[in-house]
Amino acid sequence: MNVLEVIGRGVVQQLAYVGGLTTQFWSGLTAVPRVLPLVGRRGRWSAAIRQMCAIGVDALPMVAIVSACGGFILAIQSASELSQFGAMQLVIDIVVIAFTRELGPLLTAIVVSGRSGSAFSAEIGTMVVTEEIDALRTMAIDPIELVLTPKYLASMVVVPCLTIMSSAFAILAGAGFMYLSRNMTLPIFLRYAAQAVVLRDIVMGLLKSVVFATIIAQVGCMEGFRVSGGPEAVGKSATSAVVKSTFLVIFADLFITTMFYLLGSK
């Protein structure tokens, strides 16, 4: 009886959360045209540009280092197995395929969610606590359009770019490893790498990065808008923005990968 009640309430809460997220996503998406340059409202585009710098440009060093390390680690790990079979060239394939399909989008999403997802929720949460969001609503200005949409648009533009950079840095790290271990020069490495790249993998990686960007921006903002109470609620919202978006990113990753696997096997 009691257990059922707890489970029921939990399910209802999660469903309500997903419902809220969907409505917010929809209003955010329909407001995107008003943020675009030329056709949008004045001032919005520059807000989006500022967000792009904060989400993308500032995150680039971290994405580069994390991805380079990831690429190097993957190369070492696979080399230690594959060298036993004399199949060192496969190391290149593994790094290239793993990053374009999977690790590039994923590592980028984790970095962006830690840096920007938490920042979104902290910023919006503070605006809720100081009644700034209420002030916007009383001015007949839609907080979704003014606050969320520039962030969302910026994420959609910047996260795919970061993902490409991430894969590029990882592949370069792979090249470094091959040079150090096998004296393979960069041009030769790149020729092998180019053979390993498939358009399908790139499309899959970019699709993932767009979906991840949506999750991070929407969940981050949602956690911010849901803040009630004082400053410590803002801190909690930043934590739960990262936790929830990371969880949803991995879940979405599983979903998209499965879709591609099923579609590809037909």
Partner: protein, 269 residues
Amino acid sequence: MADPIISVRDLVVSYGGRRVLDGVNLDIQQGEVLALLGGSGSGKSTMLRHIIGLERPDSGRICVQGVDINNCSARELKALRRDMGVSFQGSALFSSMTVEENVQLPLRELTSLADPVIEIMTYIKLAAVGLGDAGKLFPQELSGGMKKRAAVARATALDPEILIFDEPSAGLDPIVAAELDELILFLKRAFHMTVLIVTHEMASAFRIADRVAMLYKGSLIAVEDKESFRASNDPRIRQFLDRIPERIAESESVQRRIRELAGVTGATE
């Protein structure tokens, strides 16, 4: 009498089972200044938040310009809010924008005025509250009283029909507070604005208000013109007007609780 511009009917609000507003009725006429008085925690800000339509009441009806604010289309609500200028108790200035940008925001978002016009209007609004030179500062760089005034300037930016101020003069020095009073009187006279103002400053309330309303424990115990309010015999109003302390700390219940906490029971005393 003409239809009231704001009408509140049987407004009931509770937070977590505690009644904060308990059946409040209030009519405000077009062009009048109504001062809302009441002790700290009596529900004044709560009442304003409901009149603006930021929160839904448990029951009751609030009509602004004849439109039920909790039961209207998004478009009507938007039109209503465009006609309302609100300054919050905590200022609620946008901390990522300068004072100037704060005042400009509603002008940029809701009008299609050209930039030079917006700049002139912003300067006029800021100068009217004595912040002509502070436009380039960020809210964090302002004093508490300056923030209040910037919030008032932002509320008046669109020349709304209804102004709602939550304690705009708290923390202002007497001279600036008096200037704010004059500004409100000017807005009322020149633009026939309706003003609903929460204040703790009796002198200010009696200077600017046409009528005074007093909230006491969630109910309006008086809504009358200021002369009869000032002459009121109601002990709760007299206490407020004559600044008679409550002496809560000396009351029987508080003393008993202190003894309990100290571990001294009534029997051993």
